[in-house]
């Protein structure tokens, strides 16, 4: 079994009540829940794989495909909606060339919408890699994305 999974399992007993925290920790470590990880979790908790899938697919937090290096979550809370969240999402889709729920082919960006992130005073908002960006406009979105792109370029050049 993968070492990183073992480390996570070592702090649990495998009780049913621990299933959701285990899924959360595995996703945190790997970015998503792979088929292999799901199998190992089922083995560890002694629950049928179908049950582990049933629980994991019920909750929107869990995903089963890898995310991009920069994971963008656009808030679709009410305050964001009335202040133009759909326009922000549209702009991001245009800038990145992908739709909500997709990843760019180079795996640099992924895009999803999330329920309210609770920063309504700054609406409309998005979260990228845990950082909240508020008071968004099309212009700001475009600046933020090009900043992230140039950071990616820098990293690439350093590696060359």
């Amino acid at each position: 079994m993968e070492k990183r999974l073992e480390t996570i399992f070592s702090s649990h007993e495998g009780r049913q009540g621990e299933l959701i925290p285990i899924l959360q920790q595995v996703q945190e470590k790997f970015g998503y829940l792979s088929q292999k990880a799901m199998f190992e979790i089922a083995e560890f908790t002694g629950a049928p794989e179908s049950q582990v899938y049933s629980v994991a697919t019920f909750y929107t937090q869990f995903r089963f495909t890898p995310i991009g290096k920069n994971h963008i979550m656009v808030c679709r809370g009410t305050a964001c909606h009335v202040k133009g969240a759909p326009i922000i999402l549209e702009e991001l889709e245009k800038q990145l060339g992908i739709k909500e729920g997709e990843v760019t082919p180079d795996m640099k960006f992924s895009l999803e919408t999330v329920a309210c992130i609770g920063a309504c005073g700054l609406a409309p908002n998005m979260v990228i890699n845990r950082r909240t960006y508020g008071h968004l406009t099309k212009q700001r979105v475009s600046e933020i994305i090009s900043d992230l792109r140039s950071k990616e370029e820098e990293i690439k050049n350093e590696q060359c």
């Binding site: 009335v82 329920a115 700054l122």
Partner: protein
């Protein structure tokens, strides 16, 4: 304890942190040490509830309130204010109506007309320092309860205070505790519901971030009253800062003996576990929440049995909202009579609202029950910005309703809002101006509830989906006669035949918008127009030939080459090529591009 005479309080709530308040703190500290100022301490506090004007920096004891502070302002705050006693006027908050600079926290209308009981400590203490909480008599209520009161007396006190559940339903808290206290069973559980799922509500997040010890104190007192030795805080994983602060508070409270075995030397022991929700709105429903803690899908189950008799792992369980539990220590300290004197006859105490949307002062507002919507929106909230007219206010999130201007003088309490067709809910209050389309708002909320339906009850699972499809058709200009009647009919079925509150209330935003804004539905269906010019399919862009100066900016930016015209001559848009992206509308410096 510090000997400092003055404090610089820098907000470290999610909003201000995203606007770089930790960097501001660092810059201020550096400048203070550069200038060798000795009598000042710098503190990170929780949310002041005025995130829109963040980052917020407050200087105590004088109470100067700086808003929208930037890192580059740090040096001036330190040299001018802290060293030379000359506050920096350009950073004062400005009244949205008069544009007057207002230096003092206490004079800002947004705060002045509030009555802060639940939010009493938010923004005034460092949430990561238990000392700060102890300095303001923190954990004294717990001491009183454990050393001087029996569980029956605690329950009696809460009952006579009139406290009702702040999660939305408004069930009397003392009674809920009594049911659980009287239930038979050795193992009992006390759960705090911090799964704040309503889009547009963020008060629980702010409290967890700003005042976690008040919540823990309330939770331990509740545990003592019902006879539980284990507590859970079920908090949204989308609130990482709140989760972190609660973890810190738990460790500190345990170290000081306010949690764990033999609390304050008594026989009472209580441990608290933190469970992070995994993003399911329906887990705000108590039986769904408990299923989630048990490691299952969060699907609600029929009641009875109620959680008080058979809850978590079939043991007697009480579930209270964050705001309810945070109120408990104050009631114990100040007494039930003090509390029950605030509010209305049936709704005691205060209510917290997350006032957002098209409003000048957006933020957390706490008022006595019975305050009118007008006072909240026009006095505390400062009215509607940009010279727009008020259209509606939405309370209660996806379970609530949209109320028009005729309800502005209605008092806000459980009964009045329910009578108006909305609900108190957990406290979201979204203000909408004349540019908001009410059909689109109904569509928005139904889109939310149909995604979040757990799927157990067919009318909720399929009914909300079918209603959404109808609303989508209407907003696209494909509505038919009879659609509204069909929506009303389906709404009644879903309300009647759903097991939990999600389905029972999901049609509320549709029903209230139909009731109060029927003309907008009719305009979409019959005239194929959107009166608010919000539904893309139902309006187009045109150039006002009088206002157009022929600068060419729109033409240059149009991604479809749909705009033509000679320089310095009025331009025109070809409607066949236009994709209504709105770029021309955004870039025109003369306001010559209009929606028609």
């Amino acid at each position: 304890m510090s000997n400092a005479n003055r404090s610089v309080l820098i907000c470290h709530g999610t909003g201000c942190v995203s606007l770089e308040s930790p960097d501001i703190k660092e810059a201020i500290e550096k400048e203070i040490s550069n200038l060798g100022i000795m009598d000042v301490q710098v503190k990170a506090t929780g949310c002041h509830g005025f995130c829109q004007r963040g980052p917020i920096v407050v200087i105590e004891p004088e109470g100067i309130f700086y808003s929208e502070v930037k890192v580059k302002d740090a040096a001036e705050i330190v040299s001018s204010h802290l060293q030379n006693n000359e506050p920096v006027e350009r950073l004062f908050y400005r009244d949205p109506v008069t544009d007057e600079p207002i230096p003092y926290y206490r004079d800002i209308i947004f705060y002045k007309n509030q009555r802060r009981i639940i939010l009493r400590n938010c923004g005034h203490i460092d949430p990561e320092e238990i000392e700060d909480y102890l300095d303001i008599d923190g954990y004294q209520a717990l001491r009183k309860v454990l050393l001087e009161m029996t569980p029956e007396q605690v329950i009696e006190e809460i009952k006579s205070s009139g406290l009702r559940g702040r999660g939305g339903a408004g069930f009397p808290t003392g009674l809920k505790w009594e049911f659980c206290y009287k239930a038979s069973g050795n193992e009992k559980y006390m759960i705090c519901n911090a799964d704040e799922g309503d889009p547009g509500a963020f008060m629980d997040r702010s409290i967890l971030e700003a005042d976690p010890h008040s919540l823990l104190e309330g939770l331990v007192i509740a545990g003592y009253a019902i006879g539980a030795n284990t507590g859970y805080i079920y908090v949204r994983a989308e609130y990482p800062l709140a989760v972190n602060r609660i973890h810190i508070a738990l460790v500190q409270a345990e170290e000081r003996g306010f949690l764990g075995k033999n609390i304050l030397g008594t026989d009472f022991s209580f441990e608290v576990n933190i469970m992070e929700g995994a993003g399911a709105f329906v887990c705000g429903e108590e039986t769904g929440l408990m299923a989630s803690i048990e490691g299952r899908s969060g699907r609600p189950r029929p009641r009875p049995p109620y959680p008080a008799n058979s809850g978590l792992w079939e043991n007697p369980t009480t579930i209270n909202n964050v705001k309810t539990l945070v109120t408990v220590p104050v009631i114990i300290s100040k007494g039930a009579d003090w509390y029950s004197a605030i509010g209305t006859e049936k709704s005691k105490g205060t209510a917290v609202f997350a006032l957002t949307g098209h409003i000048a002062n957006c933020g957390l507002v706490e008022v006595a029950m019975g305050t009118t919507l007008r006072e909240i929106i026009y006095e505390i909230g400062g009215g509607i910005p940009n010279g727009k007219a008020f259209k509606a206010v939405q309370t209660g999130g996806p379970s609530g309703g949209c109320l028009p201007a005729s309800f502005l003088d209605h008092p806000v309490d459980y009964e009045s809002l329910a009578a108006a067709g909305s609900i108190m809910g957990s406290g979201g209050m979204v203000v909408m101006d004349e540019d908001t389309c009410m059909v689109d708002i109904a569509r928005y909320f139904l889109d939310f509830t149909q995604r979040e339906s757990c799927g157990k009850c067919t009318p909720c699972r399929l009914g909300t989906k079918r209603m959404l499809e109808i609303l989508e058709r209407i907003t696209k200009g494909e509505g038919k006669e009879g659609d509204v009647e069909l929506l009303i009919d389906m709404a009644a079925t879903i309300k009647d035949s759903s097991l939990c509150a999600l389905g029972q209330t999901a049609p509320n935003p549709v029903l209230t918008t139909i009731e109060f804004f029927r003309d907008e539905y009719d305009a979409h269906i019959r005239d194929k127009t959107c009166p608010a010019r919000s539904c893309k399919a139902l309006f187009g862009y045109q150039i006002d030939l009088e206002a157009c100066k022929g600068c060419g900016l729109c033409k240059k930016n149009c991604p479809q080459d749909a705009i033509s015209g000679e320089r310095k001559e009025p331009h025109t848009i070809d409607p066949d090529r236009c994709i209504k992206c709105g770029v021309c509308f955004d870039v025109c410096p003369f306001g010559a591009v209009v929606k028609a």
